[in-house]
């Protein structure tokens, strides 16, 4: 540490070059921060504390098939089950039929399934008492400037109303917030309506639900409960498939695209390029300073400390650029998210990305510094001072 000023001075010996290298490193880690943020948010989807305690039950045939509502009472009887809620896909669209919004018709206890979202008690009560009431996610409300008390006209592209048209009208009675603002919940971008109202008002549904959500008393019992639920309707005309919310989410995301593979490919290309650029800079820096390093050795610096000095210099360089880049990514992510009105979810850089990033910086710094440092260590004082 006592040589820090020495390292610092060496680093800024050529200001332009160091600045240029810093920007290169910064760009690479900016990219890393943004991509790894996306990767982590994909990988962690559904992995909230409650993710393993919640089971999703859908039709085994296909996820667009419906199940009888009578199953709820039977599921609640099973040992280990705490609560069962259900929901239907409504297919709502706002203003333009192609502007689709996640709209679910849900049982009264649906919100209780998700302790990570909050609705104020007064609004919750209003929801229970208003037949045509809906709860809207705060991100969605912000996007369209909705507030409690507004009438909300929606079109369904699947279900006609009782009068035969596909125009539905709802009353906004409450707003769904997330109790942890950093975790973007799907419910914050959606609308919840009463299943009962939905079922009575459309002639096609007739007591059927799209999927069940079950809360188990103990997460370690999830598999057993899931099997028990599927056993209820085995060999019937509505066989079910139950898995934890975590597993369901992971499977769904896997189908979106192999996000991990794409991210890793890009990062590979970026870091290979970075390694080359920084390595080149370090090699140059050492080559230029041959005589200076020789002087250091002459006045008594050991070979090992010269090695250390050069290595430290390259590590400091990469750390400086990397931390700036990750910091920039952390600032830019939320700005981008806010700018898009909640439609693009760019997470801020999570702690795990910081950890991986810092490890990468250290590794890259050591790697690119190694060759020049070895060169400096092996320097022959007489030759170096003579400029040979």
């Amino acid at each position: 540490m006592k040589y820090l000023h020495l390292i610092w001075a060496a680093l800024w010996r050529r200001k332009t070059r160091t600045l240029l290298t810093l920007v290169s490193i910064l760009a690479a880690f900016l990219l890393f921060g943004m991509l790894d943020g996306v990767r982590t948010s994909f990988a962690n989807a559904g992995k909230s504390a409650a993710g393993a305690e919640r089971l999703q039950t859908g039709s085994k045939l296909s996820f667009i098939e419906t199940l009888p509502q009578s199953l709820q009472a039977r599921m609640e009887q099973l040992p280990g089950v705490k609560m069962v809620a259900y929901a239907n896909w409504f297919g709502g669209a706002y203003q333009d039929p192609h502007n689709q919004i996640f709209t679910f018709a849900v049982s009264d206890n649906y919100v209780d399934m998700y302790p990570e979202v909050t609705v104020s008690p007064a609004e919750r009560k209003a929801f229970e008492q208003t037949r045509t009431g809906v709860l809207v996610g705060d991100l969605l409300a912000k996007k369209y400037h909705w507030k409690v008390g507004d009438k909300l006209p929606l079109q369904s592209n699947i279900f006609p109303n009782r009068d035969g048209s596909k125009n539905w009208s709802f009353d906004i009675v409450g707003v769904i917030h997330s109790s942890k603002p950093d975790d973007r919940q799907m419910l914050q971008g959606g609308i919840l309506m009463h299943w009962k109202y939905f079922d009575e008002s459309n002639p096609y549904n007739r007591g059927r639900v799209g999927w069940y959500v079950t809360r188990v008393a103990d997460a370690s019992q999830s598999d057993r409960v899931a099997n028990a639920i599927d056993a209820l309707s085995a060999n019937s005309d509505h066989e079910t498939r139950t898995m934890t919310e975590q597993a369901a989410m992971a499977q769904w995301i896997k189908q979106m695209a192999d996000v991990g593979f794409i991210v890793v490919s890009i990062m590979g290309a970026v870091f290979f390029t970075l390694l080359l650029l920084t390595g080149n800079t370090m090699a140059q820096a050492v080559r230029e300073r041959t005589s200076e390093l020789a002087v250091l050795k002459t006045i008594g610096f050991s070979s090992a400390s010269v090695l250390g000095l050069v290595l430290a210099e390259s590590v400091v360089l990469v750390l400086l650029g990397g931390v700036l880049g990750l910091g920039l990514a952390a600032v830019l992510g939320p700005v981008l998210s806010a700018g898009s009105g909640g439609m693009v979810s760019m997470p801020s850089v999570p702690a795990s990305s910081w950890a991986i990033g810092l490890a990468l910086m250290l590794a890259i710094g050591l790697l690119v510094g190694l060759l020049p440092a070895m060169r400096a260590m092996r320097l022959n004082i007489v030759d170096a001072l003579a400029g040979r």
Partner: protein
Amino acid sequence: MKSFLRGLVLALVVVASIIAWAALPWPVLLALAVLFVLWMQLTRAGRQAGSATSVGVSTLPQRVGSSSVVVVGIAGVVAVLVSLLAMGVGYSEALSSSGSADTAIVMRDGSASEVSSVLEHDAIVAIAEAPGIARDKSGKPIASPELVVAANLPLSDGSGDEGSVQLRGVGEQAWAVRPDVKIVAGRKFQPGLRELVAGKGAQRQFAGLEPGSQIKLGSQMWTVTGIFAAGNATDSELWGDADVVASAYRRGSSRTSVFARLTGASAFAGFKAALKGDPRLQVDVQTTLDYFSKQSEQTTQAIRIIGIVVGVIMAIGAVFGALNTMFAAVAGRAREIATLRAIGFRGTPVVVAVMLETMLLALLGGVLGGVLAWLAFNGFSASTLAAGTTAQMSFQLHVTPALLWTGIKWALAIGFIGGLFPAVRAARLPVTTALRES
């Protein structure tokens, strides 16, 4: 103050050149290139620039380490950019080639996609009788009422997970509506039986889709009788008889859509007007070309934006890398350049020479990156949940010549910025100082 102004002017030159480079069509650029070559051939300064460049290029092998940094750096940028863009191109090609201007799709009014549409039996009969539909030899209209449902099948990656596949129940005219769908293995399914044919893309993604094998959809066993290929999004589907699919999925006589071959692209307007004017029907009528292009729009756009954002950030990194390398290269050759100037070479030829050298390296990097992307990813199969459907769609990345050209344009732009500043510095350094530098 003076140097600040000079920097400002230089920055403006860079911005203007990049905008022109991106905006000008290639004939104009070609004309500019011809003018430049003429300048190099015909003027004294041009000839000087030529010989200075040849000196620089001939010493390149001695600086192979640092020059390769520029080449490889730019190659990395171009490879990533081209691969990402190729993904967007492949995706939209797969969807847009699924449709054509002379076939139409009819769905219930307001349906965003096939899965959310329902057409009742009466409507289907009425649609098939509309004017503008082509007829086969026996005089039957070439219209296929189809039923699309999502089915769960185990994925072929061995994880035991299930994915969602689009199962399409088709009428007998489906093959006539889509002449590009061909059986490549096995045979067609027999109407009335629980038999299926699978697309090539679906076969790749899901386990057990071989001719002759049995698969379980829900609680029922189906026999796979053949594999078909169409070279577009249809490849991700399973096809079975519409009546059998409808009974398995309890849809009665309803269907999700009607596909119809028209007598020609010009017949579409009449076909649409007739259906829209029919008081019995409330339907959306589109050509399949419009329908599939619209489905791909958002995803293609999203992939494009991601590609360009990632490309820009990487390019910034590479520009500074190139700047660094070229500054070093110029500094290393300071004495050589000063000698050139001492024996009478003016500033402009020196600037041009250094620029040309960087652009040459950049071009090399651009070509290398394009070739890398092509080798690694052309024809690479990827899959995603298709927008507007409920099933996976597989598609192939396509590195088109247009994309390669885009990559080379980016490479040259990076080379231009990376070379300009060092070149100007080399030309401005006082000769006496430069000669003394080691």
